[in-house]
C-alpha cells in the first residue's frame, strides 16, 4: 500500500463523524489499524500527521459512542497505543512543527476525559506527560508558533486536573521536572502573546498547586514561575479566563508560601487593583486578588505605603464588598485587607498625616 492509499485508508478509519468503520469494528481495533498504518509509512510525515489526526477523530468518535460500547479498557488502551505511535512519529520527524502541533492537539483530545486519565495508571501517565513535554520542547525549539504550546499546556492541564494523575506526575521526579519545565518555558515564551497559553499554563499550575506542599515546593524550586504568573496577570488583566487561574495560582504562592515576587509591592498591588476593577464582577478573581493583596501587605508591612495606593485599594475594596455582598469569601477577603492595614498602622498614619489636620 503506497502513501496515498494509506492516507485514504486513514481517512476512512478516522470515521469523519459517522465513523462507520470505527464503530463497525472494536475501538481498539480501529485505533490499532491506524497505528499499523502509521507504522507502515514511518518516513512519511504526511502519513504520520494524518495518522495523528485520525487517532484524534477516532477517539472523539469513540467517546461519543461510549454509552454504546462502554468499554473502559479500550479507552485506556487507545491512549496508550496513540501515545506510543505519536511519540515515535515525533522522534522520527523532530523538525516537523505541523506534526508536533497535530500530535499535541491529539493528546489534548485523548486526555479530555478525566475518568480515562484517572485509569491510565502510573506508567502510562508518566509516559504520556513525558511525551507531551518533549513535544512541547521540540515545537518551541523549531517554531515561534504558540499553537503547540497551547495544545501542550491544555493537555497537561487536563492530566493534572485528575488528582490521581497529578499525584503521579508530582511523585515522579523526571515527569515533574519535564512537565513543570515545559510549562514554565511555554509561559515565558508565549504567555505574554497568547492568552490561551497563559490560561492553560496557569490552569495547570493551579491544579498542581491544589496538591499539598506543591505550591511551596514550586515557589522554592522555580521562583521564576511566580513572576511569570504575575506577568500573565499583567498582560491579560482584562481576560477573565486567564485571571481566574492566574490569580488563584498567585494566591497559592502568596498565601501558602509567602513567595517573593520580584515585582515591587506597589506595582503588584496596583496591578491587582486594576484587575479587580476590570473584572469586578468575577468573585473568584476578586477574592484571589484581595487575598494576594492581603498577603503582600502582611509580608511587606515594613514598607512605606503610598497614600495614593492606599486610596485606590480602599476604594476598590469598598466597592467590591458592596458588589459581592452575597459572597462571604469576597467580604472576608476585603475585611482581611482592612484588618491588615490596621495592623500595619495605616489608619493611624493616614489620620495623623499633616495634610489631614
Amino acid at each position: 500500500m503506497d502513501a496515498d492509499e494509506t492516507l485514504r485508508r486513514l481517512e476512512s478509519l478516522a470515521g469523519s463523524g459517522d465513523s462507520t468503520t470505527a464503530t463497525a469494528t472494536a475501538p481498539s481495533s480501529a485505533c490499532g489499524a491506524i497505528v499499523a498504518l502509521m507504522a507502515s509509512h514511518e518516513g512519511s510525515a504526511a502519513v504520520q500527521q494524518a495518522g495523528c489526526a485520525a487517532l484524534l477523530r477516532q477517539h472523539i468518535s469513540h467517546a461519543a459512542n461510549t454509552s454504546q460500547h462502554d468499554d473502559d479498557d479500550d479507552d485506556v488502551g487507545q491512549v496508550l497505543q496513540s501515545t506510543q505511535a505519536m511519540s515515535r512519529a515525533l522522534t522520527l520527524h523532530v523538525d516537523d512543527t505541523r506534526l508536533h502541533e497535530t500530535a499535541l492537539h491529539t493528546w489534548w483530545g485523548l486526555v479530555l476525559d478525566g475518568a480515562v486519565v484517572a485509569r491510565l495508571g502510573r506508567d502510562a501517565t508518566v509516559a504520556l506527560v513525558l511525551a507531551v513535554a518533549r513535544a512541547m520542547g521540540a515545537a518551541a525549539a523549531n517554531s515561534d508558533s504558540a499553537e503547540a504550546q497551547r495544545c501542550g499546556c491544555a493537555a497537561l492541564w487536563h492530566v493534572a486536573a485528575s488528582r490521581e494523575a497529578a499525584v503521579v506526575v508530582w511523585q515522579d521526579a523526571a515527569a515533574q521536572d519535564a512537565v513543570i519545565g515545559a510549562v514554565e518555558k511555554a509561559l515565558a515564551a508565549f504567555g505574554a502573546v497568547s492568552s490561551d497559553v497563559a490560561r492553560y499554563a496557569c490552569a495547570f499550575l493551579e491544579s498542581m498547586c491544589e496538591l499539598k506542599h506543591v505550591a511551596v515546593a514550586l515557589a522554592m524550586a522555580r521562583p521564576r514561575l511566580v513572576d511569570l504568573v504575575v506577568m500573565a496577570i499583567g498582560e491579560h488583566a482584562t481576560n477573565e479566563l486567564v485571571l481566574e487561574h492566574a490569580t488563584n495560582v498567585l494566591r497559592r504562592f502568596a498565601t501558602d508560601t509567602a513567595a517573593t515576587v520580584s515585582v515591587g509591592m506597589a506595582p503588584l498591588i496596583r496591578l491587582l487593583v486594576r484587575v479587580m476593577r476590570t473584572v469586578s464582577g468575577n468573585a473568584s478573581v476578586v477574592h484571589s486578588a484581595l487575598a494576594i493583596v492581603d498577603s503582600t501587605l502582611q509580608q511587606r508591612q515594613q514598607q512605606q505605603i503610598d497614600p495614593d495606593m492606599v486610596f485606590e485599594l480602599l476604594q476598590v475594596t469598598n466597592s467590591l464588598i458592596l458588589f459581592h455582598r452575597t459572597s462571604d469569601e469576597v467580604i472576608g477577603a476585603g475585611l482581611a485587607v482592612l484588618a491588615t492595614l490596621i495592623r500595619n498602622n495605616t489608619p493611624v498614619k493616614l489620620f495623623t498625616e499633616p495634610s489631614c489636620k
Partner: protein
Amino acid sequence: MQIKYATETQPSTRSRLALVGLVDTIRHVATWPSIGDAVRMQVAQVIESMDVAQRASTGAPPVATSATAATRAQRRASRALSVYLSRDSSSISANNGLLTPDQSQDQLSIAGRSLSEDSYTAVSTPDSTRNPCISAQAEEVFAVPPKLTLSNSRRVAQPLPSAATQQGSSSSRRQSLHLEPPVHADFGPVPLPPNGRSRQPSNVSSLSFGSIKSGSDYVTADSSSGGPGYAVNMAEADQVWARRRSSGSGSFQSVDLAGARRRSKQQQYHQQSAMSHSSSMVTLHSAAISSSSTSVINSGTTADQGDSSKPFDVSQLSLAEMLVIVCWSSHGWIPPFIPAAITACCLGELLFHETIAIAQQMRLDGIHRVLISKDAADHPAIKHNKLLRSLSDLIEATPSHHSFRSWIKRLGKPSHVRFKETGRRKQKIDYSFFVS
C-alpha cells in the same frame, strides 16, 4: 454644573476619606442578613480594631472595651436582622417596639415614592462616562426605592418581637424595612438635665422633610386621622416657625430618643407621644456620605462639649429655609470608583453659609451628582439660581479640608441641637437633628 472630584484633594486626605468610607461600609456589612457568622465576627473584630486605631490617631482615650465593641457590633447586626417585616403578617414587628399591630403598612409614609426620576433635575453628571458601569449603576440612584418614614407621632410602644417570631413571619412578600436604626457605637447617651430626669418636651410638632411629595406643598405625610400627627403645608409651617422664632429658642426642648429607648416601655410610650407634640424635629436625610455618617454622629457628642463659637440657631430658620439633604450612600448600589452619590435638596437662601460647608464637604467626598428636587427648585432662591451658582462656584473653587464634622462645628452646633442617626435602610441612613 461641573463638580470636581475628591481625587483632586491631597492623597492622604483622599485615603483617609476612603478609609472612613470602607469602615462605614463594613459597619453596614454587619447589618446584612446574608453574611455568615464567620464574616459577622470578622466584621466585629475589624470594627473594634478600627476604633482602637482611630482613637490612637486622635489621642482620644479608649471609650469601650473590646468585648463591648464586639457586642455592640453583634447587637447592631442582630437588630438589623430583626427588622424584617412581613406584609402578610398582621403585626408589623419592629424590634424598636414603636409600632402597634394595628398599624398597617400604609400608615408609614412612603416618601421615596415621590423622589422618582422625574421629580429631580439632574444638575451635574460629570462622571457618568468615566466607566460604563457607573452610568448604569447611577441609574439606580434615580430609581429611588420607597423611603419609609415612621412618624414619631404614630409611635406606640410595643413589645419586642422575638427572632423566632420574625423568622416565622417570613414570606415571599417580605420586605426589608429598617425602622430602627442600629445605635451607633459612638453615639453616647444624651446627657440628662441636672435634675437627673429626662427632659419631657412639650408642644412639639413633627416636621419631617423626608416625605416631600412631588407637586405638593405637604412636607409630612403623617396626616392619617386619629393620630396626633398632622400635615402642614409650607405656608402654615412658615407661620409656625415664625411664631417660634419670635418666641425664642428657649421654648423648645431637646428630645432624648436614645435615652427613651432605654427606659421602660411605658415611659417610652409617654415620651414618644410627648415628643410628637413637642419636638421640632427636622429630619436630615443624610447619609451616607460614607465618611460623614460617623462624623455626624460623632459631632453629636463632641460638639456638645462646647464648640459653639458661632452659634447656629436653627429656630431662626423658617420651614422653607430648612435644609434637607438626601444623600444616597454607596450602599446597595455600586459605584466602582466613586465613593458616594448625593442628592441635595436645598431650601432657602438663608442657608447659604451652611451650603458653603456642604459644598466643601461634597467636594471632599467626591460627590459627582447633585440633584435638586422640583419642590426645592420651585423655591425662589433656587429659581433665581443663587444657590446653585453659589454651590457650583464653591465646589469648583474652594479647596477645603473641612470634614462633615467641621461643618457641624462651623455651625457651632449649640447644645440644644442634637444629631442622631434615626434610620438605616437598605441604601441610606437618616439623621435627624433635634432642636430645642
